[in-house]
Symmetry: C2
């Protein structure tokens, strides 16, 4: 019995602290002064009193800190890291043409790419976004540098080689064949578990019909997920209607080309969907990425996020750096709440996004794109942030108040430990 | 000649760097690689080439950093410092009753007050808000601790003893006579130049007619400025109408009691003003404090800031901590811009607040409440922040782009020097 106990203990680790997570979107699970037992990567359980069989396992006590699932960023552009905050007097199409395309062209230079991606990955790490779905550029050598940089920072991610063969500056356009073939190459080069490839047509206007079709077929053949943009801005929606008159609506352009929910798919923004499109979006493979900061900065609009959630659409959260200026998913959570409050002032029938919903979006819902992570339920991967704050010495806060303080007023300096798949990174 | 030059030089200091400020709201003045000459507290001039007579003066070179006027926060509650982020699912009146009044009651304890105010002042300093207009509590001993703490951090400020004699919890109410007399005492105790008293009725619902009248008379007799709240929330506006039926509107409650623009006056929020009230607000002694983060957090509404500016109303910016969660006026600037973009989506005829306007509000306009500060024009007090960023090594940014980076993505860690009235603090 003792030997067996010893063997069991030897495999396990225990973490003590105040755990907060969302099993579903409607409330927080709060386990104060509790014990989380870990079996290598996975959570065995969360206990108010540590069961006897784990009492000899090594224990890390985080005292009055709170422990939450680490953040997942469902939509971010690595090459736009340095342009955050710049040119935000423009709206989407002009902003792309006057700033963003110029930023992205610089990634033909691999020395530059290495420096910028190093700073980008460090900032994701610092802010506790330990998983993310990332747009690269068209340049595969630089995309590969991004892959290696994310790995060296122990950051799980999906990374996309961007596809563009029309409606962009010459330096960012490829032939259909090159764009396709380099996507195949990028996928084959990166069949790894920590950093995985994702098919990434920039958005419908950047891709010809034939490129979209080839990418959709590739996604189905190789079972590779998809990320792109959808209905971010009114002018863009009208443009897509002009460019693709044979389709029923913007969503249908992706759908008919097997880029919409055949494999796991992220559609960023999705502010301007008609009723048919809202209906289509109820699909277990489909994720909408709400990006409130970017939508405010480019005057795009505000997603009707609670309406979508109440329709059982999977809505996650993204920073959308660089149109979004903040790398912090905590900031993204509070911005999403603020935006929904503003929508309610305009549309009194719409309800406000609650704190637990916004937190759920950034953790368990975003996490489900990666598998079982983003929650502290049994069997989940233990991806976590440990958070503390010098103000705890001035006043007693409940664990929930500590979480609110972090989301609204905290920063990377408050994150004192990061765990990915059970390992402190 | 040489001796005279030497004498002149001895009085002067020179600061070199990239200066940005707003002389008026419509554009930035940008002086790249320039020399600012300082005569103790005041600015002598900004020069592209350093005039001969100052070439022997001691020079501090800030190289590629940018130098901007330090921030002024026109509306902030010191005792709410620790409650930021908490309870923001509520709206104004419930939030006051369930959270804020409880926070403020604790300031009957001076040990607690000393600890919290120390952290508060340090955070203002860190974030570069070197001047501010601050609400204390009803408790004069703690208010005096706040005064001393601000002085010890070299922070210029107006500080108000809060007046409440109705519609609050018993522990925060005073008799009319006590509330008045303690205001007189607080004013007489603090006739200092760095930290000055300001008459601070919490808002109309907290004060009886007779208390408002006595405070208005006191302000006129002693020439002491006034700060309070106005028309933040629809429910509050209706309540004031019920409480003060004899007045034309909310503004008129203050106006008839000489608390509205007789002396310099700050009215925080002012979201729901009728046309008469907008007309009244055009008054050289009157400042509206726009507090976008607080207004979003408490679902209050969005001020029509560009409409007010175009009517020549003096609209400044406030963090409104604790309903506002961020101590950073940079965050307040970007939030004001985001809010105006959102209003434009709803009201297409309203124009968007420009970056230079929002910056002007937080510097020169807010500064005018204190005198000549918040700009780098000749004769102004030199109050400034020096700002740098590790990203400058990765890419060339213009001074204006550096400012945008700081406003959107920067933080206190980017402020490498702070000057108040010509002295580095």
């Amino acid at each position: 019995m003792r030997d067996k106990g010893y063997d069991t203990m030897n495999e396990k680790k225990v973490i003590k602290g105040n755990f907060l997570y969302t099993k579903d979107k409607d409330s927080f699970e709060i386990h104060e002064n509790s014990f989380l037992v870990l079996d290598k990567k996975h959570i065995v359980g969360l206990f108010q009193h540590l069961p006897k069989e784990y009492q000899k396992a090594p224990l890390t006590d985080y005292h009055d800190a709170i422990i939450i699932p680490s953040f997942i960023d469902l939509h971010i552009h690595a090459p736009q890291y340095l342009q955050r905050g710049i040119g935000l007097d423009l709206q989407l199409v002009d902003w792309l043409e006057q700033y963003t395309f110029h930023s992205e062209m610089k990634f033909c230079n691999q020395t530059y790419a290495r420096e910028v991606y190093e700073a980008f990955a460090q900032d994701l790490y610092d802010n506790g976004s330990l998983r993310s779905c990332v747009f690269g550029t068209i340049h595969n050598k630089s995309n590969q540098i991004l892959v290696e940089t994310m790995k060296s920072h122990h950051l799980a991610s999906y990374i996309g080689k961007v596809n563009m063969n029309q409606n962009g500056p010459q330096d960012l356009l490829q032939t259909t064949e090159d764009s396709y073939q380099e996507t195949v190459d990028f996928i084959e080069q990166n069949e790894d578990s920590l950093v995985q490839p994702i098919i990434t047509p920039r958005f419908a206007p950047s891709c010809s019909q034939s490129l979209l079709k080839k990418l959709g077929t590739l996604s189905q053949e190789k079972h590779v997920p998809v990320q792109t943009h959808l209905a971010e801005n009114r002018e863009e929606v009208a443009w897509v209607k002009d460019l693709f008159p044979q389709y029923k609506n913007y969503s249908d352009v992706y759908f008919q080309n097997h880029l919409y929910g055949c494999e796991k798919t992220i559609m960023a923004h999705a502010i301007y969907l008609n009723d048919d499109e809202v209906h289509m979006a109820v699909n277990k493979n489909l994720y909408l990425a709400h990006c409130p900061n970017a939508n405010l900065n480019l005057s795009s609009g505000i997603m009707s996020v609670t309406k979508y959630l109440d329709e059982s659409i999977q809505v996650g959260l993204g920073s959308d750096v660089g149109a979004g200026h903040s790398m912090s998913m905590a900031h993204c959570i509070t911005s999403a709440i603020q935006c929904s409050k503003m929508r309610q002032l305009i549309y009194p029938k719409e309800r406000v996004l609650t704190e637990s919903e916004a937190f759920y979006m950034a953790t368990k819902l975003n996490g489900s794109f990666f598998g079982q992570t983003g929650s502290f339920e049994e069997g989940y991967l233990f991806d976590a942030l440990v958070i503390t704050d010098p103000m705890y010495s001035l006043q007693t806060f409940t664990p929930h108040e500590k979480l609110e303080r972090f989301l609204y007023c905290g920063g990377k300096e408050n994150i004192i430990a990061r765990y990915l798949e059970g390992t402190r990174i």
